[in-house]
Amino acid sequence: MKMKSKTQKIRWSFFIFFIPVALWLFLLIVLPHLELLRISFLGSGGKGFTLDNYKAFFTEPIYWLTFVRTALYSIFVTMIVLVVSLPVAFYITKISSIRAQGLLMILILVPFWVSELIRVYGWMILLRESGVINVFLVKIGLFKEPIELLYNDVSMIMGLVYTSMLFMIVPIIGVMGSLDDSLIEAAHDLGAKRLAIWKEIIIPYCMPGIMSGSIIVFMLVLGSYLTPKLMGGKNSLWFTEQIYNQIIVYFNWNQGSAFGFLLLLLSSMIIWVALKLTKQDFTKVIK
């Protein structure tokens, strides 16, 4: 009898944890996305099943061109971010003195918490025609007159790199910090040069951090709205803008849902391929 009452108590506590979590995940994650899928198949009147919303995507070049462009640029930005982050993480974990390490970590993390909007705004002040950089370059005589440095693809990519970079550096620092220095010493002692140590030891060891950083950066860039809108040019269309336009401007929720679902599909597929290629496990990478 005593045993029984004890197991019942444990079940109770299980349901106390389980119910709120299950409600959260089903009501706010699962069902809304199913609803997104359902609405994407509805006709313009909100009635009947149709594929028109998806058809429109493939027949209208501006839609799928923006889609492909967004995907390719997101991959490109992720790669740039990776190339910048690896040496930064390496310097902080393996080269800087132990004392400087803590300070550098704080310096890295503080901008991490400042709102994306403010950081983008800072770049706008720096880059635009009347911006700080232009004033400076004209003053030292490098430019004859101010040039618009903002509102083009380069400034947009730079902005995306800037706003997402820390989400790569932090997970890489996490794994790199646990890389035992003696592995690098051993490789060096066994005759490996710098490049071989990177290729054979550091990169393979840091792969989980690289993958989780890449996934998060890729997702942030792909789903970014502010940075392309504020730093990109008139032609720097980003797919999230198309979604926003459909939902808010044209009030065409069915078309917007179809676009949203396509973006979700694209991001899941790219992540899945990346994980398969590097032989990593999603739930392990995210931890």
């Binding site: 959260w24 080269i95 003195s97 909007l117 950081r119 800072g122 009347s130 004033v135 998060i216 979700l264």
Partner: protein
């Protein structure tokens, strides 16, 4: 190569230069934004026209400082309310989720865990739209069939809280899980052995141990909520949060009052972030 190996001077100098440029890149926009908050000019740009506190204290009519800028103050207040609600809700549910995934075993745990981390890879824009569509559908259904009208199911304060809660809880869960994973479960067994029941064990032993990560998780939730833009964009009603409000001003051009707001936000988030890090480090030991 690393600090314990002999390094050539050139290698170290080159690396240090790279890091210097990196940090310049990281901080230049923040510093410029902050400095221009004190420029006595109508535009957030150079040339420098002298030092002023007008963008903080000015009462108008030309220069309205942040402390007299009604619309932005309203935005800040709304954001604060949202952030506090979200951090309380997501900390409670996140703690429960951490217990559920770290200490309980049940069927379909893997599937549920997968759902729990899914918000990390769902773009915020899509999450916002999905929740907007779903709550809208429920609202219509309830109104059509039962004649009930629920305000929080249309874009409003409540919906913003729901939308942000849906993904911030994931982050909080992960922060708390990370610490719970390191918890020595023999401590619980010892407490049982000394006569405590399950709830007493959780309250006196486990939650005490988790406290630093619960505080840290709540702080992270607060900051993420306060600055959230993508999800909020689709859910916001008549009362804008600060980021939505600022976005319109940044897009359409504005006076350096934005710099003043940025200055306050950068300084206060830095203090909160450093305090959080410092506390985290101290508690770890």
């Amino acid at each position: 190569m690393i600090r314990t190996l002999p390094n050539s001077k050139g290698y170290l100098t080159g690396f240090r230069l790279f890091i210097l440029i990196f940090f310049l890149f990281l901080f230049a926009p923040l510093i410029v934004t902050m400095v221009l908050a004190f420029n006595d000019s109508m535009f957030p740009s150079l040339p420098w026209k002298g030092f002023t506190l007008d963008w903080f204290l000015g009462e108008g009519p030309d220069k309205i400082g942040i402390f007299h800028d009604k619309s932005n103050i309203r935005g800040i207040v709304t954001s604060f309310k949202v952030a506090i609600s979200v951090s309380i809700l997501s900390t409670i549910v996140g703690t429960m989720a951490a217990f559920l995934f770290e200490q309980e075993d049940f069927k379909f745990k893997g599937l549920l865990y997968f759902l729990m981390i899914a918000p990390l890879v769902i773009p915020g824009v899509i999450l916002g739209i999905s929740i907007l569509l779903f709550t809208n559908s429920i609202g219509i259904f309830l109104e059509d069939n039962f004649g009930i009208y629920l305000k929080f199911l249309t874009p409003s304060f409540g919906l913003v809280v729901i939308g942000q809660f849906s993904f911030i809880t994931t982050i909080v869960t992960m922060v708390i899980s990370a610490r719970l994973r390191k918890f020595d479960r023999t401590l619980e067994e010892a407490a049982y052995n000394l006569g405590a029941n399950k709830f007493e064990v959780i309250w006196f032993i486990t939650l005490k141990y988790l406290r630093p990560s619960i505080i840290g998780g709540a702080a992270i939730a607060f900051l993420m909520s306060f600055e959230n833009f993508n999800t909020t964009l689709f859910l916001v009603g008549a009362k804008s949060t600060l980021p939505i409000n600022l976005y319109q001003q940044v897009r359409d051009g504005s006076t350096p009052v934005i710099n003043a707001i940025s200055f306050i936000l950068i300084i206060s988030t830095s203090i909160l972030a450093v305090a959080n890090l410092y506390m985290g480090n101290k508690k770890e030991k």
